[in-house]
Structures are given as structure tokens and as C-alpha cells.
């Protein structure tokens, strides 16, 4: 039932996030003709989807929604006055953090999958097609990098008091990653730039050749592995802080 609590706490945020993401994807697909007609130079439908969804507005919204999903936790419960009840349950603090992190990661993964479900389904309505496999590749990138963003916000939520400071710190953290990744010594490690990785520019090259069989080949697995490690480390650090903290 701890899962139920975590779900109830984040369920409304998740539902609103999912609705907002689906709405933005639908708008991007349905307005494709108008936008492409007014483009400076002709662009293909897959390229349009990439630039409208995976590179720009919808990605920005996704990042924002993931940060919102990462907010909460026992420290935030203190402000609402429910921390005493939660901590009096016969549950270890590590488990509290683990279930919250697992629920959040699952929600991030589902959010990341939504464009892959909607865009291929909606594209025929506007007389276009979009490969589910191609969309799924971007979803994998979004889920992998999204979990780092979620874990970062979760970490800041157990370190920083206040409702908004963890969100501000997460945005600052993402900006710091992008700035660091641009520095000459780190320029050869594009994986450091989470947002750049989520753009998935390298996937655009093979857009038409993508098939389910070749789905996993072009993905940056090293970067994704690194993200998984970073996310786990941040969740672990958050768990250790919660486990050792006093809740007066």
C-alpha cells in the first residue's frame, strides 16, 4: 500500500502531465501542415516532428513535468504536517525513498512513452506516417535522461526545504550540465549534456531506415548506462540522507 500512497500523492500531477504532453504532441501533429508550409525551406514530416516534439517545445515541457514529478517526499511532508504519520508507519526510511523513486521512475517512463504512442497513431489523420520504432527510440532517450532529472529533483527535495527550491535547483543543475558539457575539456563527452542527448539528433540520420529489428542499435547505450548509474546514485544519496535525518 506504500505504492498506493506514492501514487495518490503524485497521481494528479502525473495525470495533468500526461494530458499536457499528449495535448502538445497532438497540436504538433495536427498543425504540421500549417507550420511546414510557412517554413523557410521544405522539411520532411519526420524532421518536422523531430524539431517540434523531440528537439523543442514538447521536450521542454517534458523536462518541466519530470521536475514537477520529482517534487515531494518526507521533507516536504513536514511542511504539510503529515511526516509524523508517515514516519510512524512500520516501514523503514530506505523503503519509503525506494518506493517513491520507483513510482516516479515508472511515471517518467510512461510519460516518455506517450509521444511514441500518440504520434504514430495520429499521423495518418493528417495524411502522414511516423514510425513507431523511431518514436520509441526517442522515448528510450527521454526515459533514460528523464530519470536522471527526476532523481536530481528527488535528491534536491530531501536536501532543500521549501516547495519550489528543489525545482529551481534542478533547473540550475541542468543548466550547469549543459555549460559544463560545452567546456573544451568535456566537449568530447556529449553525454554530459542531458538535454542534447534527449534531442537525439543522431537518430534523425537513420530516421527512414529504422525498423523494430534495428531499434536498439543507434541508441547511445554508454550514455544511457551512465545516466542509470547517476540516477541510482542520486536516489541512493537521497535515501541515505532521509535515513539519517532527524524529523523533529
Amino acid at each position: 500500500m506504500l505504492w498506493y500512497k506514492m501514487w495518490r500523492e503524485s497521481g494528479v500531477r502525473f495525470a495533468i502531465s500526461a494530458a499536457a504532453l499528449l495535448w502538445m504532441c497532438a497540436v504538433a501533429v495536427l498543425l504540421q501542415q500549417r507550420v511546414r508550409t510557412h517554413a523557410d525551406e521544405p522539411i520532411s514530416y519526420p524532421h518536422y516532428i523531430w524539431s517540434a516534439v523531440y528537439k523543442a517545445n514538447v521536450l521542454d515541457l517534458f523536462i518541466l513535468l519530470v521536475i514537477v514529478l520529482g517534487l515531494g517526499g518526507v521533507l516536504q511532508e513536514r511542511a504539510q504536517g503529515t511526516a509524523g504519520f508517515t514516519l510512524s508507519l512500520p516501514v523503514g526510511r530506505w523503503r519509503l525513498t525506494a518506493v517513491r523513486a520507483a513510482t516516479g521512475c515508472l511515471q517518467v517512463a510512461v510519460l516518455a512513452l506517450l509521444p511514441a504512442l500518440l504520434i504514430p497513431l495520429l499521423s495518418p489523420v493528417v495524411g502522414e506516417t511516423y514510425s513507431f520504432a523511431a518514436a520509441l527510440q526517442f522515448s528510450v532517450l527521454w526515459a533514460g535522461a528523464g530519470m536522471v532529472i527526476f532523481a536530481m529533483t528527488l535528491f534536491f527535495s530531501v536536501v532543500l526545504p521549501g516547495a519550489y527550491s528543489p525545482a529551481i535547483a534542478s533547473v540550475a543543475g541542468l543548466l550547469a550540465c549543459s555549460i559544463l558539457a560545452d567546456l573544451p575539456p568535456l566537449a568530447h563527452h556529449p553525454a554530459l549534456d542531458l538535454v542534447e542527448t534527449m534531442h537525439g539528433a543522431q537518430l534523425m540520420v537513420s530516421q527512414h531506415e529504422v525498423s523494430l529489428a534495428a531499434l536498439f542499435a543507434p541508441l547511445p547505450w554508454l550514455a544511457l548506462g551512465l545516466y542509470a548509474l547517476v540516477a541510482l546514485s542520486l536516489i541512493g544519496a537521497a535515501g541515505a540522507i532521509v535515513a539519517g535525518r532527524d524529523f523533529p
Binding site: 504536517g81 510512524s88 516501514v91 532527524d246 524529523f247
Partner: protein, 297 residues
């Protein structure tokens, strides 16, 4: 039957930086009794209770609740499985309905008693379909009590349970505590409302500035505690009363007022031998509390 301890602490201490919230607190709470934990606001009551529940780690000292070590995270889970806690703010999940919160809490306790749940739900007239955030503070207290009592814990710990309740609800709460004790559950509750403690508690622990200043049976206060007041007429300074049984001596001008816990007759005889008129009066918990706390101030 001897009352074995359900809570024991030895030298329990909590520092917040330079502030000593609790100082070398050694206390015992006996099984199947109602024990009141008295003290002013900020005396260290809530910090002590939260240390017992594992929400705050002690800086020093040891504590055991139902036989488990409070400082060990794994044993702390075992403590929380066997006892119930009703916090000061009664902070329950406002986004759940009463029914959902009951089902949620029930899932953590295999020994949950559906019959008690049903009885209390009816008795407290709690609306299962209403959101917790939409019910009154009195109702929230009752809901918190239902969640605590429906599993017949060995011990129920309540932090300022009557805070924010109207007089009728307070009376109902005190009656509930008596019934709980009669059913075999030990009750340990903190309060700064002396009248409530006096109504239901059998044993009283008093804490001031993080230190235990009194640990006694309420019946002992009624039976043995007395105020002995003497008025000295001459100008000589009143004598010291360092006698067995004298808890506190207060001297105001020519008047000496003793708080006596035993040997009243011997002390009165000694006072009379000094030639001063002596008055002996029974004391209430309020008098003892004010004496001890004012002294410390």
C-alpha cells in the same frame, strides 16, 4: 501484578547544536497504566516521544520501547509495528478519504481488528467517503485514534492529544484512554493540560528544560504530598529545611513553604518545635507542577 516497563530510557539526550532539548533523561513507563508526560511548551516532551519512535536519533543515552532499541533503525520498525502513535498535529493524508486512509493503514498491520474498526467508525460517526482534509480537527483526532486503536497495540503514545479539541471532544478522548487501558493497552501521553492528566493518569512524569523533575504515582500526590506553610514572626532568617521528604522549599519574606512528599508528621513536628504557626494543606498536581517548574525558572 507488578507493572513491567513498556518504555525505559537511560541518560537519553538530544542536542540541536548548542541547545540541549533533552538532558540525560532516565524514565520508565509501566505496562497497562496511563502515564501522563507533563511539561511546559518546549520542555522536551515531543522530542522525547519522537526519539522513542525513531523519528529523531538520540545524541546520547539509550532507550527501549516494548523491548526494542530506539536507536536501531530495524528495531525501530519493530517498535512502530507494535505500538501506535498519535502526533500533536494529527497530520493525516488530506487527499485520501476516511475509508481509504483506514484501508491504507490497515495494510501495514497483520493484527488489525476489523471488529474494532467497525465499532469505532460507528461510535465516532466518521464519514468513510469524506476526504480527510474536509473533516474537522476533532474528527481527525478521532480518526487518528481509530487508526491507532484498531490493531490493539501494546502501547499507544499520544503527543498533546487534546490540542485544538472542544471540551466535549476532550472528555470523550479521556474516556477512550481509560477504555483503552482497561482493554490492556499501555497509554503514554504528553500534555501541558494539568486537569486532563489529573483526570486520567495513574502515573505522572514531569519534564522541564529537558530533564525529568518528577516521577510519581498520582495517588501518591493525593495521599502523601502536602504543602507545609510556616510564618516566622521574628527577624531571624528562617531555618533551612533539609529534611527527608522535603521536595522543594520556597521562602517568601518571613514565610516558608515546603512541598513535602513524605514524613509529613515529622516535618510538622519539627516546624512546630521552631515556634512558628504551621499550616498543612493537601496539594493538587497543578501545585506540584507550578512548584517544580517555577523553581527551575
Amino acid at each position: 501484578m507488578a507493572h513491567e516497563p513498556v518504555i525505559e530510557t537511560h541518560g537519553l539526550t538530544k542536542h540541536y547544536g548548542k541547545l540541549e532539548a533533552v538532558r540525560e533523561l532516565s524514565l520508565t513507563v509501566e505496562r497497562q497504566r496511563i502515564t501522563g508526560f507533563l511539561g511546559r511548551n518546549g520542555a522536551g516532551k515531543s522530542t522525547t516521544l519522537k526519539m522513542l519512535l525513531g523519528m529523531i536519533r538520540p545524541t546520547a543515552g539509550t532507550g527501549r520501547v516494548v523491548g526494542y532499541d530506539v536507536a536501531d533503525p530495524a528495531q525501530s520498525v519493530a517498535i512502530r509495528r507494535r505500538i501506535a502513535y498519535v502526533g500533536e498535529d494529527k497530520g493525516l493524508y488530506g487527499y485520501m478519504t476516511v475509508g481509504e486512509l483506514i484501508r491504507f493503514t490497515r495494510s501495514f498491520y497483520p493484527d488489525w481488528r476489523p471488529a474494532i474498526e467497525a465499532r469505532l467508525l460507528k461510535e465516532y460517526q466518521l464519514p468513510p467517503g469524506r476526504k480527510v482534509k474536509a473533516i474537522s480537527k476533532g474528527m481527525r483526532t478521532k480518526l487518528a485514534l481509530l487508526l491507532a486503536l484498531a490493531r490493539q497495540p501494546e502501547l499507544i503514545v499520544l503527543d498533546e492529544p487534546s490540542e485544538g479539541l472542544d471540551p466535549v471532544s476532550i472528555e470523550e478522548l479521556l474516556q477512550t484512554l481509560r477504555e483503552v487501558r482497561d482493554a490492556g493497552t499501555s497509554v503514554f501521553f504528553s500534555s501541558h493540560q494539568l486537569s486532563e492528566v489529573e483526570q486520567v493518569a495513574e502515573r505522572v512524569l514531569m519534564i522541564d528544560r529537558g530533564q525529568l523533575v518528577m516521577d510519581t504515582l498520582l495517588s501518591d500526590i493525593r495521599k502523601h504530598y502536602r504543602h507545609v506553610t510556616m510564618d516566622f514572626a521574628d527577624d531571624a532568617p528562617p531555618p533551612a529545611f533539609e529534611l527527608a521528604g522535603v521536595v522543594r522549599t520556597r521562602i517568601v519574606g518571613r514565610q516558608v513553604r515546603l512541598l513535602v512528599s513524605a514524613h509529613v508528621e515529622d516535618i510538622v513536628a519539627y516546624a512546630q518545635s521552631l515556634g512558628a504557626p504551621v499550616q498543612v494543606a493537601p496539594v493538587h498536581l497543578r501545585d506540584v507542577f507550578l512548584d517544580l517548574v517555577k523553581e527551575a525558572s
